[in-house]
């Protein structure tokens, strides 16, 4: 009995850890999509973040510098997407896909010599005094690394920014009706650049979390499709940072559970267990999409559409 409880607690704590990179990337994608830009390059930005974070940490011996590098690299790839899709009005789907393929390939190439290198520094668990000693809640919430705490703050902050402040109003207006925002003197291009950049930075941060905290080290393709799951999570979250938290931990839970079950020596083939997060993605998307249709809370109306002011007609 005691064992089962501990196992469940372990899975739940693992869910939060495994959900954290998803949460960062999902929040980033929510910002970009709220501004009207679909960014399918999240996977590429994450893996480049994971690689650059680890690479710089190996060089400097300090995980914080690695983290900073990952954020900058993610943001830079975001800027490439911004230039292509906002300034040049390229098809956002194609641009995003290209960046994912690019990021995956480049990281694989640049990371060859890093495979198997031990991490000189990682983000370690920081047990919060007093709160960390609480039964159940302590190990679940207050015995994590600093980036998890950061994500705890980031999600509510993003929600508050989006729905309770003037910059948030502008962000939502740009994604729903860029022509209106433009006519009211809000800079559509400027805000879209800003939020695609921010989205890229958060994807890079999510990637670095994987290589510096979740499973320290570098392995080819180590993000394993989490960028895609993040994009699906945006829909599940109906573009709301609060629900993104729920979604990210749900998926983190699936991942953690699958990991633990494999550890128990079950008869279920590991291939099947590895599949579960992706099967779960499909199921969740089907359910979430039905719900958004029913409650009429669809995507931002201008999602994926380039904006041009002097369009006649």
């Amino acid at each position: 009995m005691q064992d089962t409880l501990i196992l469940i607690l372990l899975i739940l704590a693992g869910a939060i850890r495994a959900g954290t990179p998803l949460l960062f990337a999902t929040l980033g994608e929510i910002f970009a999509e709220r501004a009207g830009v679909l960014n399918l390059g999240v996977e590429g930005m994450m893996i480049m973040g994971a690689l650059s974070g680890f690479m710089v940490t190996v060089r400097t011996g300090n995980a914080w510098t690695g983290l900073l590098a990952a954020i900058l690299v993610g943001g830079s790839i975001g800027l490439i997407h911004a230039v292509l899709s906002i300034t040049l009005r390229a098809n956002q789907v194609v641009s995003g896909l290209a960046l994912t393929i690019f990021g995956t390939g480049l990281s694989s190439f640049l990371g060859q010599k890093l495979v198997g290198v031990p991490a000189p520094d990682t983000f370690r668990v920081v047990r919060i005094p007093v709160l960390g000693e609480l039964p159940v809640l302590g190990p679940l919430v207050f015995q994590h690394d600093i980036l998890v705490y950061l994500s705890f703050l980031l999600a509510p902050l993003a929600w508050f920014l989006m729905f309770k402040t003037r910059p948030g109003l502008h962000l939502r207006a740009v994604g729903e009706s860029p022509a209106t925002a433009d006519a009211m003197g809000v800079s559509v291009v400027g805000l879209r650049y800003l939020y695609v950049f921010l989205g890229g930075m958060l994807a890079g941060l999510g990637g670095a979390y994987i290589s510096l905290a979740l499973t320290p080290g570098w392995a080819d393709g180590m993000t394993a499709g989490r960028g895609w799951i993040a994009i699906a999570l945006v829909i599940f979250a109906t573009w709301s940072p609060a629900r993104a938290m729920v979604g990210a931990y749900l998926f983190g839970g699936v991942e953690a559970a699958q990991f633990r079950i494999q550890g128990t020596g079950t008869q279920v083939p590991s291939f099947f267990l590895n599949m579960t997060p992706y099967i779960f993605t499909i199921i969740v998307l089907v359910i979430a999409t039905q719900e958004t249709v029913r409650r009429r809370i669809g995507a931002p109306a201008a999602l994926g559409l380039p904006y041009e002011r002097e369009e006649r007609g």
Binding site: P167, E176, D182
Partner: protein, 512 residues
Amino acid sequence: MTSAVPSVQMLVITKRFPGVLANDHIDFSANAGEIHALLGENGAGKSTLMNILSGLYHPDQGDIHIHGRRVALRSPRDAISLGIGMVHQHFMLVEPHTVAENVTLGLDEPRFLLNSGQIEQKIAALSEKYGLKVDPEARIWQLSVGEQQRVEIIKMLYRNADILILDEPTAVLTPQEARELFATLKRMAAEGHTIIFITHKLDEVMAISDRITVLRKGRVVSTVFTSATSKQELARMMVGREVFFQVTKSPWRGGQAVLRVEAARALSDKGLPALKGVSFAVHEGEILGVAGVAGNGQRELAEAITGLRPLTSGEVYLCDRRITNQNPRQILDQKVSHIPEDRLGMGLIPNLSLSDNLILKGYFAPPLGRGPFLDQKAIDAHCRELISRFEVMAPGPDSSVKLLSGGNLQRLLLAREISCCPRLMVAVHPTRGLDVGATEAVHKMLLEQREEGAAILLISEDLDELLSLSDRVAVLYEGEIMGIVPAQGAQVEEIGLMMAGTKRARPAEVAA
């Protein structure tokens, strides 16, 4: 009323779009306290000129002076800070957001936190003062079009705009709503606001403006005082030739019912009820006009009759044969013509040639087609004949349709739809966006078909058009018919009330 310095002065404004000279050396000025109408046909350059004044477009050439000071309008933000506000024809509102959020969008105040209480108070004060009733907490998609327009005006007043531009503001309003709007505008002008009013409707211009500037093909024809001009003169300036307002048509001779719709119900694209039990009949040689504010089920009605939208209940009969929920081909084959609302989207295929478009309804059967093959010779002859008979101005039958002007597109569409000798024509906004000449031509063609004995269901938002062409007018409101009245001697007042949802007291008489 006129002060020494005009509040708005635009000098030799020129704006070129690819292939079009939209504004050609335009001089325009308006004074504080006046309602200045900007009159012209579609494509005359009115909206372009005002988009320049509101900072949305940049002129290729020309100067703008506001209250006597030369200004550079680089963006809408610049225009707003100078007190220039524009109510666009297609409203600039964020639909999922609340009224208050829309009103404050783009402002520096509130700085960071959205303090809705304070904003809502200020909105309430403005709506009180100008008679613009609206709930600040409502979301835009929940509001009627008239209410949305009020939000647009409040938005400008909230920014202390003293120069207010309205682009075709009455197009979406019932006659009563339009009158309320005029009262508001007059009150604002009396307070010293400058009101610039874009329109192509002469009656409105005569009713509310102080001065009028007429544009034609990107140039200023003249600026006149309303008190010193007449409708006839304005029309001549606008079109460039004499215009006849009266359409002559013979009285209805009577005949069998061609189309009978009984208790038809259908859903909108969003899955909400769009038609709620609509019943009427259209007879041989009769035009039944359908009036109503946009979005009250007109499109769904036309699509339900032509087989493009399933009826959830009710029946449609063509000459006593049931055609309910047959597929479009089956229905069209029974000599039904459809002039859809969206000419280039649904009526014609822009990238295909004139002749390809002309044979869309008959390519699969002799004489145009044989089995899987097309008879190019027959097609060529057929198309040349139609193009000359309907006076479509085009380089040739092989040129691409997207290059045609609006009027020629409609001629082409009518050529195809009339050439099948229709028993029933369903025409949706057949003259929307056309200039006066093309409108006259379309009216003539519709009346000719009426003479030939076709039954015509004419859906339009232009009440004048409906009253002059139709034999009877039905009014749709939220998917229901509020009443059917004979067009001759119909009261615009009464139709306006029905458009706003008042059912006709007397049950509608439907000729047998």
